[in-house]
């Protein structure tokens, strides 16, 4: 209990919270300048998300893939890798899940859905592992290779959908078979048909597993050591290259699983896409808001998802252009990153607190 209290008064809790508040205020100022009423706008935003079960369910649906791509980025970060390729891994995972979902029809439900999920994770992981391998074996900077793999992933996804899975006359794949779906139909019906699915639960489990793996296991210890100081890790007998590939693989698995959720839980099919959905890039922001910690990522995804999903309500009810939410999110990340600014603003409060502590 005491621990919990300490948690709330720690800098790592207070600073992000203040940063969020400051980001919201800044967004409000921008709205005022544009001639909009920020109170009304934020009101509409939060009403949209929390006003009824349907929209709440949909907001959760919005958060779920963000959790996964956020975890993916955070995981690689812990190994000292900058995985900007979440986007491509997400797409490849999505495609693998669609493929299994469509082609392996006839499997019983307890096999089909898990198999499709595993395929998504596996191929997302392999996609990322390419970048990991190129870095480990050839010293290719993972930032460039992942950027390239994002594009290749997009076209590969389209290629597979169009060549193997196309629904005739349409620009999308045929539906996955019922047995591969991870929709929670009963819950969905309870929540006004919002597209809630099992993926959300899996995402939460993944965050916990991430935490345990990274801080409680031998392998996590290795990955962190490699992330902080590859030289010392090598000296201590760890396989640096193997850990780089492994970290990328796991990172990609998380992103790929996120992609699989979208197909198996939300859409039940995959369209031919003209551009990538952006969930991978948003995941970077989510991870940054969450300070690359799995539980932080959960909160980051809740925040990011609430803001983006709610922005539709904002523009619907208060006529505020939804783009403003990008400014708000940008500002929040800015204040979280530039903690110096927050500290500076909090200075008066801080010195007071210090004094209290001394007493």
């Amino acid at each position: 209990m005491n621990n919990v209290l300490k948690w709330f008064t720690r800098d790592s809790f207070i600073l992000p919270v203040v940063a969020i508040i400051m980001g919201l205020i800044l967004g409000g100022v921008v709205m005022l300048i544009g001639g909009y009423n920020p109170i009304e706008a934020y009101g509409a935003l939060f009403t949209k998300v929390f006003g009824d079960m349907y929209n709440f369910g949909e907001a959760v649906r919005e958060m779920t893939p963000l959790i996964m791509t956020g975890l993916a980025f955070a995981f690689a970060s812990r190994a000292g890798l900058f995985n900007i390729g979440g986007e491509g891994q997400f797409l490849v995972g999505m495609t693998a899940a669609t493929f299994v979902g469509v082609k392996f029809a006839g499997l019983p439900i307890y096999l089909h859905a898990p198999l499709a999920l595993i395929a998504g994770a596996l191929f997302g992981g392999l996609w990322a592992a390419i970048a990991g391998y190129l870095k480990a074996a050839r010293g290719v900077n993972e930032v460039i290779s992942s950027i390239m793999l994002n594009w290749i992933g997009l076209y590969l996804a389209n290629l597979i959908v169009r060549q193997f899975l196309l629904l005739k006359g349409e620009n999308r794949s045929v539906d996955i078979s019922e047995s591969a779906s991870i929709s929670l139909t009963w819950l969905s019906e309870l929540m006004g048909n919002s597209r809630v699915h099992m993926g959300t639960l899996i995402a939460l489990v993944m965050a916990v597993l991430f935490y345990i793996y990274m801080w409680k296991t031998k392998q996590g210890y290795e990955i962190r050591a490699v992330g902080y100081n590859p030289n010392a890790a090598e000296y201590a007998g760890m396989h640096v290259n193997r850990n780089i590939v492994k970290a990328m693989f796991i990172s990609g698995m998380l992103a790929g699983l996120g992609g699989a959720f979208q197909v198996l839980g939300v859409f039940q099919y995959q369209t031919v896409m003209s551009g990538s959905p952006g969930t991978g890039f948003d995941g970077i922001a989510v991870a940054l808001i969450g300070l690359n910690h799995p539980f932080g990522v959960l909160l980051g995804a809740v925040l990011f998802g609430t803001l983006t999903y709610g922005s539709a309500g904002m523009s619907f009810a208060a006529d505020v252009p939804p783009e403003i939410i990008r400014i708000v999110i940008g500002s929040i990340i800015f204040f979280i990153a530039a903690q110096g600014i927050v500290r500076w603003i909090l200075k008066p409060f801080y010195s007071k607190r210090k004094k209290e502590k001394v007493l």
């Binding site: 921008v30 544009g34 900058f82 900007i84 190129l134 050839r138 010293g139 290719v140 900077n141 930032v143 460039i144 290779s145 950027i147 390239m148 793999l149 594009w151 290749i152 076209y155 590969l156 389209n158 290629l159 169009r162 060549q163 551009g275 970077i284 922001a285 940054l288 252009p321 783009e323 403003i324 939410i325 990008r326 400014i327 708000v328 999110i329 940008g330 500002s331 990340i333 800015f334 979280i336 990153a337 530039a338 903690q339 110096g340 600014i341």
Partner: protein, 320 residues
Amino acid sequence: MDLLTIGQIINTTLVFATALIFASLGGIFSEKSGVTNLGLEGFMVFGAFAAGIGAHYAQEAGMGGTTSAWMGVLLAIVLGVMVSLIHAVASITFKADQIISGIVINFLAAGSTLYLVKLLFEGSGDSPLVQGFSKFDVPLLKDIPLLGEAFFKNVYPTTYLAILFVFLTYYIMFKTPFGLRLRSVGEHPSAADTVGVKVLRYRYIGVMISGALAAIGGAAITLTTTGTFSHNTVSGQGYIAIAAMIFGKWNPIGAFGAAVFFGFSQAIRNYVQLFEWSQSIPQEIIFMLPYLLTIIVLVAAVGRSSAPSALGEAYDPGKR
């Protein structure tokens, strides 16, 4: 393939490469000073936006096509520098993580430019069409076989400007005191500090030049390619510019080469479609080509990383 076609491919390549050249040079200025710049994309977006509205209002004010286009470039530079200060303040003064700060720029760019366009143009999602720069031929030189077609016919002033900036950047970086100091600040800030080079000041300047150049790159897209600014005017080219900078090993000539390579691999994806045999391969494979090619070249041609040693680290005189 005849000489004419080759010349034309080179010409198209250069048009594609122009924005990338500017932005990757911008990246070099920032990163050579030790500040990671993942915000190139954002700077380009701001530049493209400023060029769109700048040229529009200049045209409204009665200026001719080219003059108004230059006004657009000017506004892009101003806005690029202003926005770069956000990155500078956060990452240099307040020692924020430079990667995060760059990503913040991208978020702000995506949000605020579109918001502003909507405010300025009655809810429209893009800025009004402007004339932009026109292509021109260089007399006499244009008749040289191959070279004429490639470099002196149907060219935009921005392409020449970009090439000029490559050499200018090289000169500044490697021949002037300013360049020496800028590089020293990115390699070993405390060494620079102890000989009286103002580390933070040089980093600010590096980031500001970066903002200006990347913004010119964005402006070049609006003023030569799209004619308007909308949310997808830049669409990821800032990231490609980062790749070009890394690929070119933070050297202006190298980055130029890499940008041209990216431009080329984009250009050929259209040319490939002209061939009969291309009809039998799925389009996606052709679209993948530039990116696959990049990875292959990267794998074949890697060497020691030549990133500035202090890249990404905030300078803290007290830290050892």
